[in-house]
Symmetry: D2
């Protein structure tokens, strides 16, 4: 209860699970007068689609987005909430039966035990239910709407795989990332490092195992002044949004955990004035001072754990008898979720930024930008 | 706007700033029939008081907590919201004048530029205003109320300094931490490591600089099943709460950022059955599966940046003329905020856990535990 | 923004408009283990369907409800949010063109001027858009879910037309209302009074005009103790919900506006004890003391204004030129909305009661009742 | 839980009860740069003070408002939440003992039975606790802050007693009401009708009884376009706010319950154009179309029940033994709450309007008006 809505004044509410009929999002706070098409939503959804490379699960989901509410007769938004639905297509009876047969066994690293505890015997045991990665369809569709509104303000958000299997991409700026990050199936803009990561991932995959990584999100063009002290700092609502993504175990901004070993004189970003605008020579702050944006790029990272489903036998237990048991290897899985999770990170950060922008400018202010 | 409330059904709303008359918290969701005294609040407030050692700022705040609402004639809670006020005592005119003189100059690493952008010429320039560490008085007082309710369920939360200046405490369990973490001014339970950290901090302080660290929070006794999928996972609301503390630049749970280099077979915590209860041999998950508690200890870490106020000259700019300028060394400051921020971390985690417990048990269920 | 969600911990979020592709509701807070079928939703939707008698608009909407999310493989709820979609069927191009032609003209009593002011030139001009009565499809579908949960607690809510055209039904108890209120197209349980009302309504309709009425809602079986002081009294959240229905201009509970002329000694309901339970000899309070339920029937009334669309020429103005103009008679309309608005009132009251019940019992408590 | 906060982006959170140490309000969403003094708060508080005439309770409360947070060194608001505290002064031990002696007996029409059910044996039995009229101190103090912000936009809200004991003031416009409504202790601007009402009230009082009335609220200068479809129509959030006031049993807008007997052709307000602005010849809508403001005066009425405390013996029961009993006459009471409840109504309507204005203009937009 309460858990399926994100955002305060620009907000998404989602529903849908792995083996239900469909997934949907209702996007509240969409100003009137903006062009919004199925294709704009589809473009984002396609980024998170499985089966795009040998790094992903072989599940085939075409994920066709249909905007069914919120558009006027001319196809422009009207100020009404936007409704988007995506029907589940690849729900084969054979897979349901596989899940049914194994439903008494806990899959290590998965949410099914905690869902079982919370919802009781009638929790959704099929394909991880609402805890499945498919849940993110609604987030990404909602984020696609946010993207269109932010673009009118020249606010761009992108996320890419920065690290995997102990290999880290070299530091690069927003423009270089933007140019290269979608050139390989891993969505890592350091093309050389990416090759090494992919080789390593495939090696791990061949051994029946999986791996995690770090996804970095950069937001460019965010005006200074966004975020509400003290509990709703934009850094805090972004952390909330990213940590709510399954598989994410850590969130940091700017220098992040490195600040633990820094001195104040190193960590403070020295300011200077450029064209009558305040700039900072370094960005250890990640674009936030007191949790409010300072006009620099927002830089956020999140830690993604290895896919828990592996092709190796594991210790487990039977949820019904509460006895220990062995879980056999499972083959239909992602070697790493990193290349599919980055659009979800983009979506959450976009929604959080837009929500803060709405608090600042109000409906009137945001709408003025949109229809202009 | 909206930003001064934390929690959904158990919630705190705070006000007060560095150089106002006082700070207060209204705690909503306090069940009836519980003993609650000024001393219980005071005990927690005293943990965050400045001037406790040479690591802290010399500001002297006695911080006397007064419960002024929410108690019946017998001194027990009544179900009404609890109001607590702490008057600011150490507000000397001389300090106000110091701040007034320097108010046009941006202090690197501080929130004053972003507050200036957001609130305009009339932002609070005195002692960092609402962005001051004094703001946390309300959080800690609210957390003290949460603590009393959680204790009735045998839920204990503690936070300690795990790392500073590149020195890290050895791993230790809840009981060992509990026994030792308050034995030194740094609140680090590895007494040997603490000595080294303190020596290093004092060395850095002597050089006019400051340092940061990592605070770890452990929660014991949290029942399995807390947290609301998908956006209000308990891990996400805790991340929100911790990232909302000034100076925090990262939050991670369990293995945290280390998952980026792990394999699925390493990262998955193997389950076993002990006394008919599910346990896990490792705790890489930090006590969360799918963001819902799994019955193990919650383990969370947050990165604390070095105090931005340093005794060294720094590059700055004049907020009124937008010209570059130099900021002189400042002497009244904390060498590190770590030993004073841990009670704030405890408070935020307690409030988030209790809020999730309320969602689960309802007022009726929580109250039953309290008055029993 | 923010406006399309109702409820705090049991909540509905709706989208969809008069001439969009479809309408949907996401219901958050549905406990696991409950049977929920399309037919259960359909039964409630059918109550608000137009074209059921000569009192209604001739618009033909079959309104087929499809639950597309929130059900497990056995058709039981799983704790995940429930998604329900209803596609708009009767969207004929000819009607769109009629609306397009007249869109510059303000229809007196309608929301289109205020939507125009709020959303600008791109507001939805077709069939009243989101301000249309069709918006209530989502409310009623959401209320149908609430109904199923409440039934497990033996909480029943019914609404009926109590007054129209100056004719008022005689006072009757819950059982008598329940037995008779659906026996005529007006949904008025005083069958004699209903006949007179219907005759009068048809007479007014024949003259090209419309009429309003009063709908009374009775809730039986609501336990004492629901509602949160001080702002979220259950009486207040119900008033919020009912006043949010288009066409509603007043809400009262118990003796309502009659209290203005009563003395304290008349208005106070004398208590007595029956089977060790507190009862009251009268119900001027409408079942609320201090906004919290007292165990008696909840009795609420709402005033419904006459349908603003009439078959008579009216003064109007052109929204684009801001000049006065005449609006011609419109024929496709409801003579009175009363017989179609009662299921919406039932839905809103059910949702508000269930939301308060969730606050009281928590997810755990509500779920226990559901799966039992 | 959740119940002590009103408003979404401009919001008040209150605490305090009849016989606690004090009452407070935290006002979130106050823009920076506005003059705000204790006197501005005091002026509103004084309106609701008891003991102003023989119509009121003889309780003496000086109610001194102190702003303790949210002001900068120059006494202007800073964007931080404003904290206001009022200490309870007239808490005599003799009264506490009176309440203690009678605490087992239910007072008809009071909330103590429902508080007892909800909060159990430890509910606040002293002076009605949080259900006392003293709770409204926080509302009125918060509304006083809202008033200052609204005044900068020339939005004025006033409430007056329109009806009592069956006597009704004649209809009068905003200016006439404003000029006269505070000229008598009843706050009724129809001075002749007021005399008759007062005579009648004193007569009823002399007989040991009490009476109720109708309070009308008029808001002038509210721009068109405020309120969020569909659930957060401004009419709905106002109804929520007013119905949350103890003693209020009904809320209506514009023609209110009279619409039940009107025809569409009568009820629709005919528009015309005046100085290029849309006006309406009548105001049956009360200033709302589709729940959004249309630029006309907002006209709202609420029904106030007679004070339940009367000087006559009444049927009652013992809450501890659950046996019937008699309650003796009580003498310390208000003959009618009407003349003291009107400032509470003003406060709630102001807060709801300002909250909607914030949604529309955002922090940036509202702040611009304030500091200008």
């Amino acid at each position: 209860m309460l858990g399926n809505t994100f955002g305060r004044v620009f907000r998404i509410t989602t529903c849908g699970e792995s083996y239900g009929s469909g997934l949907a999002v209702i996007v509240d706070g969409v100003p009137a007068g903006m062009k919004l098409t199925n294709e704009m939503i589809q473009e984002e959804l396609d980024k998170r689609k499985p089966g795009q490379s040998e790094l992903d699960s072989p599940r085939k989901e075409t994920d066709i987005a249909q905007i069914f509410a919120g558009l006027g007769q001319e196809g422009l938004t009207t100020g009404a909430p936007v409704g988007i639905i995506v029907y589940n297509v690849d729900r084969q009876a054979v897979h349901v039966e596989q899940y049914r047969k194994a439903k008494h066994l806990f899959r290590p690293g998965h949410a099914e035990y905690t869902y079982f505890v919370k919802y009781g015997a009638h929790y959704d045991w099929c394909g991880a239910g609402r805890a499945s990665g498919r849940e993110t369809v609604g987030r990404v569709a909602g984020g696609a709407v946010a993207k269109q509104i932010l673009l009118r303000d020249n606010i761009e958000v992108l996320a890419y795989v920065q690290e995997s299997c102990g290999i880290r991409a070299r530091r690069m700026g927003f423009e270089e990332v933007k140019k290269n990050y979608r050139k390989n199936p891993l969505n890592c803009p350091d093309l050389e490092a990416a090759e090494k990561m992919i080789a390593k991932i495939l090696e791990i995959k061949a051994a029946g195992d999986t791996c995690g990584g770090v996804v970095e999100i950069i937001a460019r063009g965010v005006p200074a002044g966004l975020g509400e002290p003290v509990f709703d700092k934009l850094s805090a609502t972004i952390a909330h949004g990213l940590m709510s993504i399954g598989a994410v175990k850590g969130v940091e901004i700017g220098a992040g955990f490195r600040v633990a070993g820094m001195k104040g004189s190193e960590c403070n970003d020295p300011p200077y004035i450029e064209n009558e605008r305040v700039r900072f020579r370094t960005n250890n702050s990640g674009g936030f001072l007191g949790g409010i944006t300072n006009g620099e790029d927002l830089v956020i990272r999140m830690a993604v754990k290895p896919t828990p489903t592996i092709s190796l036998e594991q210790d487990s237990f039977d949820k019904t008898t509460m006895r220990e048991a062995k879980l056999a290897a499972i083959t239909r899985r992602d070697a790493t979720i990193c290349p599919r999770i980055y659009p979800v990170a983009e979506a959450m950060v976009r929604i959080a930024i837009l929500d803060a922008l709405f608090m600042w400018r109000g409906w009137e202010g945001v709408q003025k930008h949109v229809s202009a």
